[in-house]
Amino acid sequence: MTATIYVPGDSGALALGAEKVARAVEREIAARGLDAKIVRNGSRGAYFLEPMVEVETAVGRIAYGPVTAKDVPSLFDAGLGSTHRLSLGNPEEIPFLAKQTRLTFARCGITDPLSLDDYKAHGGLKGLERAVAISPADIVRTVTESGLRGRGGAGFPTGIKWKTVLDAVSDRKFIVCNADEGDSGTFADRMIMEGDPFVLIEGMAIAGIATGATKGFVYIRSEYPHAVATMTAAVEIAREAGLLGVNVLGSSNAFDVEIRVGAGAYVCGEETSLLNSLEGKRGVVRAKPPLPAIQGLFGKPTVINNVISLASVPVIMDRGAVFYKDFGMGRSRGTIPIQIAGNVKHGGLFEAAFGLTLGEIVDEIGGGTATGRPVKAVQVGGPLGAYFPRSLFDTPFDYEAFAAKDGLVGHAGVVVFDDTADMLKQARFAMEFCAIESCGKCTPCRIGSTRGVETIDKISAGIEPEKQLELVADLCNTMKFGSLCALGGFTPYPVMSSINHFPEDFRPAALAVAAE
């Protein structure tokens, strides 16, 4: 029997040397004349253990990690058994992975991303099979009843969006997948596109059948070349297998997918800006209404959903709305792939039902900081998310609970900072980033962000700091309520949370010394 050795091809693993490891494994297989093959799987998401090599054995898989190329010969010397010092045993029993509830990421890191046989053997396509057997209205009802909300950050109920498009009358409709995952601290979209691309394609096909759309676009940011390559290959395979095309799974439904690549504009993660970019225009935000569901891509009714929203649909269709809805808390139903990042010991992707507290995520699952210093602040939800101090660590991961603390869940990225972080610098960066990435359409964002940087610079220079702080608060208020989209509208979250929770960092050192 041919032995199978898994070496992730996920870009996180590649960034840590997985390619060299794969080549070393190849060399050992050849040199020892072994009957073995290498599968480039996705990542299971435990990045502190990457590159994590797995070997299929008679008693199941054995994982090793983190493996460097020079460790590889010794793995083979030890007979690829569980006695090697890097052995992690059964990967399913690694605490970081065992504690998760993997619904959307059920296959990610386990299967060969581009093997449709693997996909089917691990429960793939069951959702789509059910979707082609029932009416579009029933699909939409299932998604609505599951309680799924947009995972891109806005948290809008996915089923309601789909219903609007289903009810819209038009000669053409579109499904657009927002894969412009620009938020720092997030990588769930990237991981699923690299590690289980068919689940996204399946979700898009279900969305197409549910709403009467026949064409889908995946808009992937250019910073993700590996995801672009995997998705492009997967679409080809799906077409050849009849999963996409004029008769999806042999049904009378037509649906096809095209991969598009962004061009380095963060604002294109905003849905209307993304639509303009797809149309070949400047990625300028559109005023709403009209909603994209009524007049979206090329003026046609369009479902625009985040990668994770769409990739969560197959499991909902397969297992049913009630199964999915049973996970979670309050109005946040199902699971959320939390991305634990930055200065953290156990960084990676942790899919769990809504409801874990921020403290559980950072201290228990994340294991505290990588540097070993105390945690000072945690930014949740990307560059537009608030910085939370330890005193808010009892906040449960839930859309409403975060909103109640003047924060946001966003795309569920959690970036940890130790006590060396300077929150004035972080607040300034939030304004600076907004200035760099503003599309320029509305004044509060375009001008406000630049004035914000200048005003914060005056604080650090000690020029009438109290007055400047008032000015920043006023400016943030204008940006929050006067901007067209979340870029200008949410930049106040990181700025004001820094000021409110860490006021000591906004007293310039010179003044503090002078006052003593």
Partner: protein, 159 residues
């Protein structure tokens, strides 16, 4: 050491790229990517050719090209090094890494070394936030940057 092609050459190569992609819906971004792949940048001479082919104004093409950070209006160095400047990388000392890299290479952001070896660009998130600080060299990803890795990168681009 000018590597810029003659303008007639630009027009014909631009047309070839356009002809491959003009059948797409909303073809402008794919065409611009194709042109940047072809030339290493988007030459000014290509813009009127695109405008003519897509029946849009020069101003519209110019507006689109200049909106997006990815498109360059002049050739880059032989290597393109992008270093992440976003929050997750900041939390792991990314700012110091970026400063050190600029010092080692002797150039700032958006600059190309005088020997044409490397162009340094800031990037805002590579999705490697659990492996911070991160960089990308000619499309290859590098995580957990440290002094040793920086020196390896610098040695590689100077070859």
């Amino acid at each position: 050491m000018s590597t810029q092609p003659a303008s007639t050459d630009i027009a014909s190569r631009t047309s070839a790229v356009i002809n491959q992609l003009r059948g797409l819906e909303g073809p402008l971004l794919p065409i611009l990517h194709g042109i940047q792949d072809e030339f290493g940048y988007v030459p000014g001479e290509a813009l009127p050719v695109i405008a003519e082919a897509l029946n849009i104004s020069n101003a519209e093409v110019h507006g689109v090209v200049t909106f997006y950070h990815d498109y360059r209006n002049h050739p880059a160095g032989r290597h393109v090094l992008k270093i992440c400047r976003a929050e997750a990388c900041q939390s792991m000392g990314g700012d110091a890494m970026a400063a050190r890299l600029q010092q080692l290479l002797g150039i700032g952001f958006h600059e190309t070394a005088t020997d044409g070896s490397v162009t340094l660009e800031p990037i805002y998130c590579l999705g490697l936030c659990a492996c911070a600080p991160a960089a990308m060299l000619d499309g290859e990803v590098i995580g957990r940057l440290d002094e040793e890795k920086l020196e390896e990168i610098v040695a590689e681009v100077r070859l």
